[in-house]
């Protein structure tokens, strides 16, 4: 055992210089992000108990051309989703003859801050609730409408629209609500759990190796403050749980269900890891 430890240490020492060298060239960009005249917090001190000292938005890890797309909300194709959400707001659906607007007449005012403070504790369901699930809850309980299928275009558009009302506001969860802290703990455990044939945890890439490159992919801290995010790869809005599932799939593991207890716990914990960063929805990523 001792031998192995020494060996590992010497291996690390042997390679430390080239690793340092390459890492220096792949640091997050030193740039400021202003959207529609609002300055975003893309770099901030981490909250107490966080493994990092400084939090960086994923925006800082992207190439200048990708960054430019998010900077200009006219050019940002994710804004099509926000516009679609704004239209859906007043569409009446369900047996109660209501739309979102029936209860929330001024989304720009009523929804401000919502996107910065979810997931919240849902005392009825005794589990965390995110924006997608809150929309479904409203649809079922108040509108008499069917919940959306996971990743329905309308679900992503409404979520993006709601979160966009908090553009620039710092992410801040109230973990004292209900049992949210317990779910945070569970999410933390999952964050460090290795899955799949490739045997990888979230932390392997986004904590241990952020700033470095996997092939041409510049690993970020895995912040979630910009979801739903317009991804160039799919050329459409991508939800947070879609991304969670994509990452887990890439470890060659069975893919957890969207909005399952595990992924709600993970959403709670990972959202906390971005405390203080601005809501950027809809962010633009590669």
């Amino acid at each position: 055992m001792t031998k192995k430890v020494i060996l590992a240490a010497s291996v690390l020492a042997l390679f430390s210089s080239p690793v340092m060298l390459t890492k220096a060239t792949a640091d997050p960009a030193d740039a400021t992000l202003t959207i529609d005249g609002k300055e975003m917090t893309v770099k901030t001190a981490a909250p107490e108990g966080h493994p990092f000292d400084t939090l960086y938005s994923g925006w800082l890890y992207r190439e200048p051309e990708t960054r430019a797309l998010e900077e200009d909300s006219f050019e940002n194709p994710g804004m099509f989703g926000v516009e679609q959400g704004a239209e859906l707001w007043s569409v009446v659906e369900g047996t109660a003859g209501k739309s979102c607007e029936s209860c929330h007449a001024e989304p720009e005012v009523d929804m401000k801050g919502v996107g910065a403070s979810f997931p919240k504790w849902d005392a009825d369901a005794k589990r965390p609730i995110n924006i997608e699930l809150q929309i479904d809850k409203c649809r079922e309980e108040n509108m008499g409408a069917e919940p959306y299928k996971f990743d329905a275009a309308e679900q992503k558009a409404l979520t993006a629209f709601i979160k966009h009302q908090s553009l620039g506001m710092p992410v801040k969860l109230d973990l004292s609500q209900g049992e949210l802290q317990t779910w945070w703990d569970r999410g933390k455990e999952l964050y460090y759990t290795r899955t799949g044939q490739l045997n990888l945890s979230c932390s392997n890439c986004h904590e241990d190796h952020n700033g470095q490159m996997i092939r041409a992919d510049h690993l970020s801290q895995g912040q979630v403050n910009g979801f739903p995010t317009y991804r160039l790869k799919q050329s459409k809005l991508i939800s947070l749980h879609n991304r969670f599932r994509g990452c887990v799939r890439d470890t060659r593991a069975e893919i957890p269900k969207a909005f399952s207890d595990d992924l709600m716990a993970l959403e709670t914990y990972v959202t906390w890891r971005g405390t203080g960063l601005s809501v950027e929805t809809p962010a633009v990523r590669q």
């Binding site: 006219f74 050019e75 194709p77 804004m79 679609q84 050329s235 459409k236």
Partner: protein, 107 residues
Amino acid sequence: MASKPRVKLPKSASAGEIITIKTLISHEMESGQRKDKNGEVIPRQIINKFTVTFNDKTVFEADIEPAISSNPYFEFAVKVPESGTFKFTWVDDDGSVYETEEAIEVA
């Protein structure tokens, strides 16, 4: 296919001023070069033509191929001689035509 054109240009300009116009339209731009899960080629459906007129005179055009990205974006310049109306037209492979208009005031 839901297509919503977005156009950005100044509300006013001085006579002979060169302004920049940006346009973006929501469209998948299916290239006709992809296959679905069953190995069948997904039929091409793109916006193949973009035309801009000012007071009914053509000022800028683009002949578009499948290599243009989803949600096509165009930015170009126009020298505005007088007050008038820009008309923007996108033509889809399926024959649909998407249009929008913007007026500009020349002082």
